[in-house]
């Protein structure tokens, strides 16, 4: 309720009138039922109703403390509505909102756990990767923030890199890993769509050549033509030998690690339609210290 905003004064007043009306109504109800009505059974007598042939009900008095409890609940409601939000747009004199409470709890958590991460942040990543306790903490962070895309075992899925092998798009040294998490990747590591430039036939030829440098059985005639296209269009990113370029995030085409899959059909699709994977930046969201620990965890997976 604390963060609820009313679209108009009308609804605000609507809530106020209903709430206050209900409190007054409860109080009036108690006063009104105290009036003796004609034909009412006297206290301790049997009322006029009979159920199940023989079952009758006494008109027994309630205990007085029950009445006091009822009044106390009314007083409680009034005090609550003065202190906390509840009456339409009135915010309550304590200024309580869900946001304030959230920020307070986050600040408490930060005060409690911040020093732990700050302590880790002062150590070198390779040292942290060898520290069992740090790796365990890092793993918990990984499961929370990374496992959704990279998998619980960090081996990735099509389109999401495997973090446990030695194939790195942007480099597997501690600094590169940390930069990847902090600032994200993508944009500069863009694979264009070559369909338009190469045509169907051209794409087939380049696919054949890529399969060849990947060390598979191919049609050499097609691959030879593909090589010519490759040296015009692909070489600037993937290099003469197809070893890729970590400065650009261009993958190595000669190894067994395929980000989107290594079957001929999938490779063909990558060349024809292009790929545009993105790693989001986590700097603002997680903060430097936690990213440092995460980088250490990721580093520990392949070292």
């Amino acid at each position: 309720m604390g963060d609820f905003t009313f679209s108009s004064d009308f609804w605000s007043w609507w809530v106020i009138v209903l709430t206050v009306g209900n409190i007054l109504g409860c109080w009036w109800l108690i006063v009104w039922t105290m009036k003796k009505r004609a034909g009412e059974a006297a206290s301790g007598d049997v009322t006029h109703h009979t159920w199940d042939e023989t079952l009758q009900e006494y008109n027994n008095p309630l205990p007085r403390w029950w009445l006091w409890l009822f009044y106390i609940t009314l007083v409680f409601a009034v005090i609550y509505l003065v202190l906390y939000p509840g009456l339409g747009k009135f915010r309550g004199v304590l200024g309580w909102t869900g946001e304030v409470r959230y920020e307070k709890e986050m600040a408490q958590a930060e005060a409690k756990y911040g020093p732990i991460f700050a302590n880790y942040a002062e150590q070198e990543i390779p040292a942290l990767a060898a520290d069992e306790e740090a790796v365990r903490t890092g793993r918990r962070l990984f499961l929370n923030y990374c496992a959704t895309c990279h998998g619980s075992d960090a081996r990735g899925f099509p389109g999401f890199p495997n973090l446990t092998d030695d194939a790195w798009l942007f480099g597997g040294d501690p600094a590169s890993i940390k930069t990847s998490i902090l600032n994200g990747r993508g944009g500069q590591g863009l694979m264009m769509a070559w369909e338009g430039q190469l045509g169907e036939q051209g794409v087939d030829e380049v696919t054949e050549y890529v399969l060849q440098i990947n060390g598979r059985e191919v049609n050499t005639e097609l691959a030879r033509k593909g090589q010519q296209h490759y040296q015009q269009m692909c070489v600037s990113c993937h290099g003469i030998e197809g070893k890729g370029n970590q400065a650009l995030g261009a993958p190595d085409l000669t190894d067994a690690a395929w980000l989107y899959g290594g079957s001929p059909g999938t490779i063909r699709e990558s060349i024809a339609k292009g790929r545009n994977g993105r790693m989001p930046a986590h700097k603002d969201f997680l903060g430097e210290d936690k990213v440092h620990l995460l980088a250490a965890y990721v580093y520990s997976l392949s070292n």
């Binding site: 009036k35 403390w65 619980s152 075992d153 690690a257």
Partner: protein, 464 residues
């Protein structure tokens, strides 16, 4: 209250609708049922105050360790995962209530309910300090002077001391009581411990000292629905109207038949001993908690008068109306049978409890992964919970997919006592062996030290 000054008439009506509490001064009572209740009080409170101090195997025998979420009951350690047993225990408790209530009325209320048990102790303290019923009434009527203040202060001090011990004991079930005692002695109690000790002390003092019968009459739900379990063969406490009426006072020497009187001498002893302040001679009332104090009191009087006992006695509605009564009847037989079956089931379940648990959490972000070799792979996070008191090494196997291969780090299967281990597992299979996209597989975890500790859990394996 900003209403206009109430007219006398209003006030009168208010007094009729809302009753000021009349304090009940139960007179001390001696007899068979009073002795039974005292025995019940001693056994139950003895257990309550004594059990937390027991040690078993080097730890507190009964400890409900909430922060660690482990519940020690002598040699058994229950985990939150064992909630099933608690649920069963609660069902058994409920059925026991049904069974005994159907059999003999409000036995629970009269002999075993904490409200009765603690009130009994508080009444005993009150009698020791203020004297019995007449003296208590006289003291309450007398104007406040030093003597009255001294007696009242002594009583409340005794009550509060006992209540504080009760609160302390209660918390001692949840946090090691010896350490709790030590930290109480050097004033280093934590805020939560302090709060709960005070809370339960206050609740004991308030309920047993002040509220007493008000709890039974106005607050307690059990008091309400127990009458639904009564039938005409249920034991109730009843005044024998045909024998007692017309009531009236007489000398012991007088012949009651000559005066045209029944056996009731109208001494109101039964009313004076009643903890809820009712007159049993008006018939069965919902306020009656079945404590049988009036039976003891009346039997005493009957003995003195040389009349036969049992003017007020445990009887059944059928018997009062001269019909035969049956202890064995569908209601008691069915309750009893279900109760026995559940008890046997619970004992069997606990005796055969396997102190290991396995939770299977499948990675849900992708349906499956294809390895470079063309195999289909699913990833699982397994949580192994070793609930035993010894470390175990486990062996993990899969069933359900014959050709599937299981991959995990071997060393992760050593789990220390009472620990939870997390294990990352991959299951791989050649897609030619899959007939459908979703397959059931079973993970089987077996202790190498003790093959009886074995658990089989099902999971899903997704493929193309």
């Amino acid at each position: 209250m900003n209403q206009s000054a109430p007219t006398p008439n209003d006030r009168e009506v208010e007094n009729v609708l809302y009753q000021k509490r009349q304090k009940v001064y139960p007179r001390e009572v001696h007899g068979l049922f009073a002795r039974l209740r005292v025995a019940g009080v001693l056994v139950l409170l003895g257990l309550y105050y004594f059990v937390p101090w027991l040690t078993y195997d080097g730890h507190q025998a009964v400890l409900f360790d909430l922060p660690a979420r482990k519940f020690h009951i002598f040699g058994l350690v229950f985990w939150p995962q064992d909630f099933f047993y608690l649920a069963m225990l609660l069902v058994i408790a409920a059925l026991s209530l049904f069974f005994f209530t159907a059999l003999a009325g409000r036995l629970w209320c009269g002999y075993a309910c904490p409200q009765t048990v603690w009130t009994e102790v508080f009444l005993w303290m009150e009698r020791k300090i203020e004297g019995d019923r007449p003296r208590q009434m006289k003291l309450d009527k007398s104007p406040l002077n030093f003597r009255k203040f001294r007696i009242k202060a002594t009583k409340h001090a005794a009550w509060i001391a006992f209540a504080a011990w009760t609160g302390f004991t209660f918390v001692g079930f949840f946090t090691p009581i010896r350490e709790l005692g030590a930290s109480l002695m050097n004033f280093s109690l934590g805020p939560w411990e302090t709060f709960w000790i005070l809370f339960y002390s206050f609740a004991t003092y308030g309920n047993a000292g002040w509220l007493r019968e008000q709890v039974c009459i106005y607050m307690c739900p059990y008091a309400r629905f127990q009458s639904a379990m009564f039938d005409k063969d249920t034991l109730i406490i009843s005044y024998d109207e045909s024998r007692g009426e017309p009531r009236g006072s007489r000398k012991r020497s007088e012949d009651r038949a000559g005066k045209g009187l029944g056996d009731c001498i109208d001494c109101t002893m039964c009313v004076q001993v009643c903890p809820t302040g009712i007159d049993i001679r008006n018939g069965l009332q919902y306020q009656c908690i079945g404590c049988a104090a009036c039976i003891d009191a009346c039997n005493d009087v009957m003995d003195k008068m040389d009349y036969p006992r049992g003017l007020i006695r445990y009887t059944t509605e059928n018997r009062l109306e001269g019909r035969p009564t049956h202890v064995l009847r569908p209601r008691t037989l069915v309750y009893g049978f279900i109760l026995l079956a559940l008890l046997a089931g619970l004992i069997y379940a606990i005796a055969n409890r396997v102190p290991v648990d396995l939770n299977i959490i499948r990675d849900r972000n992708a349906l499956y992964r294809e390895t470079p070799m063309g195999l289909v792979e699913n990833i699982y996070t397994l949580k192994l919970i070793n609930m035993d008191e010894h470390a175990h090494s486990y062996q993990l196997t899969i069933e359900g997919l014959e050709q599937a291969e299981l991959v995990y780090r071997e060393d992760a299967l050593k789990v220390p006592a009472g620990a939870v281990a997390e294990l990352l597992v991959q299951v791989r299979i050649d897609p030619v062996h899959l007939d459908r996209p979703s397959n059931e597989i079973f993970f089987v975890l077996e202790s190498l030290e003790n093959p009886d500790i074995r658990i089989r859990q099902s999971g899903r394996f997704l493929g193309p």
